[in-house]
């Protein structure tokens, strides 16, 4: 089994799970209680908060644990909208955000907010001049993702942050895919809010973080108890929090080494496939992309078919085809970078993780070409193409 879908989710790292274990059945105290066994929970949580804060150059009190990356995104957008609606009702984001941002923005549009969705170029980059032009007097928030989950493109976050701050506008970034893979410094990059999800970096699913700069007041999304400085209710998920702290620490400590290794694998995979398979192309930027991200389009054939055949050969990947979504449209990201529908439907994403080896990559380079060939042999699009080429 070769797992190449690390952008979808990662296994909990064994070191991380080891740290988590005692907090399920043993040190299970509710962190808000006053008796001494609860102090274990409290201390473990404080440590994790610091680990996460250190990983992004923040202060511990700026780290708010949430129930997932989607919640963090929802909170940042809805919380800002609710808190600042008197100041303005305009929000700027991009066409390539994760649905946790896009669908939240659409929800806000139904509630009287105006949202500008910035275009991106063929690599997936937003245009800084367009961003500047989009800013209005009533713009209250700019939300641009740190790195795209499909094509891995890393946006010019520091630059965007600078512009937002020059104009006195809050800046949020969905760093769910970037966290642990790209260096993040919330101060140098002028980031006011930042979303993290544990399961993308070797921690548990169902744990997220919203970093929120000191002094920024947004409305609560989950009301209730006094947890998380009375800003996010719900009994704290200590084991998951402990795990996320550890995972964040490890990721940052190992980043240079891991990235060097994974980037090599990535480029090997990209080049190997480009070489072996005709009529295929890389989506996203060749170098300004996440270390582990490979996204390619294979002309004349469809993504799910490739995935199924890869799965039969023991390879897990994902695609931008519409196969599992109930809209039949392919990935909005691939369309936004200008791919025609059939190329978007014919895309595959391989996301390389810590555990992948060079042998894995060799195996994919060897396994995919005959699959592509087989599917093309039964594709009416390929037949058509060949006929036209003959003429």
């Amino acid at each position: 089994m070769i797992y190449l879908d690390n952008a979808a989710t990662t296994p909990v790292r064994p070191e991380v799970f080891e740290e988590m274990k005692p907090y399920f059945t043993e040190h299970f105290g509710n962190a808000s209680s006053i008796y001494s066994i609860a102090k274990d929970s409290k201390k473990a949580m404080d440590k994790a908060r610091k680990q996460v804060a250190d990983a992004i150059g923040a202060k511990p009190e700026e780290i708010f644990f949430t129930g997932c990356g989607s919640e963090s995104d929802n909170w940042a957008l809805k919380g800002t909208a609710d808190a600042l609606s008197k100041k303005g009702k305009h929000i700027i984001t991009t066409k390539i955000e994760h649905h946790a941002i896009l669908h939240t923005a659409e929800f806000l549009e139904k509630h009287g907010f105006e949202v500008t969705y910035l275009d991106v170029d063929k690599y997936g980059f937003i245009n800084i001049e367009e961003l500047k032009k989009a800013i209005r007097d009533d713009t209250i928030l700019i939300s641009v993702m740190f790195a795209n989950n499909e094509i891995g493109t890393i946006e010019p976050i520091a630059e965007i942050g600078k512009i937002a701050h020059e104009r006195g506008i809050l800046f949020h970034t969905d760093a769910v895919q970037a966290m642990g893979h790209v260096k993040i410094d919330v101060n140098k990059m002028n980031i006011d809010m930042l979303s993290i999800s544990g399961h993308k970096l070797g921690a548990q699913k169902g744990i997220g973080v919203l970093y929120k700069r000191n002094g920024i007041k947004i409305s609560q999304l989950i009301h209730g108890g006094a947890q998380e400085q009375q800003q996010r209710a719900g009994t704290e998920n200590i084991p998951a929090i402990v795990g996320l702290g550890k995972a964040a620490e490890l990721a940052v400590k190992e980043m240079d080494e891991t990235n060097a290794r994974i980037t090599k694998l990535r480029d090997k995979l990209i080049n190997g496939l480009l070489e072996k398979i005709p009529y295929c192309s890389l989506n996203g930027h060749p170098s300004k992309r996440l270390p582990g991200n490979v996204n390619m389009s294979f002309d004349f054939i469809e993504g799910e078919s490739m995935l199924l055949m890869l799965d039969m050969k023991g390879i897990c990947a994902s695609s931008g085809s519409a196969c599992t979504s109930s809209s039949l449209d392919p990935s909005h990201v691939l369309l936004a970078i200008g791919l025609p529908h059939e190329k978007a439907h014919g895309s595959l994403r391989f996301t390389i993780g810590r555990e992948n080896t060079e042998e894995d990559i060799d195996y994919v380079i060897e396994t995919l070409p005959p699959i592509v060939e087989k599917l093309r042999a039964m594709s009416p699009l390929y037949e058509d193409f060949l006929k036209k080429n003959k003429q």
């Binding site: 039964m378 594709s379 699009l381």
Partner: protein, 143 residues
Amino acid sequence: MEYSDKVMDHFTNPRNTGEIPDADGTGTVGNVKCGDIMKMDLKIENDIIKDAKFKTFGCGAAVATSSMATELIKGKNVDEAMDITNKAVMEALDGLPPIKVHCSCLAEEAIHAALWDYSQKTGRKIKGLKKPVNDIEELHLDD
């Protein structure tokens, strides 16, 4: 995605892929926007469908429904071919996940498109057959 064993079988070993160069009826349905295109060729002798071949651009279900549709249609006469509805194809495949039902509709449409072509060429009227809305003369790819 929970495909039945039958679907996986027809996806992995699709029956009747390819073309019939001197087909008596040919139809192509679907569109690239939705990510499914099916082309079906029929060889018809004495009102009997002697051979059927398909080419499909699409997901596992699209391939499997095309494959099953060609299997079901072979040996039928032209009128009986109208019985091969999307429901019949789905049943023969032991069902499809809800969001894949449209693939079976596409298979039905492909049959109808090929029969319509045959009917146009030969003048053979087929009861219940209407001009398929989805038939595409050329593959309109986005550029």
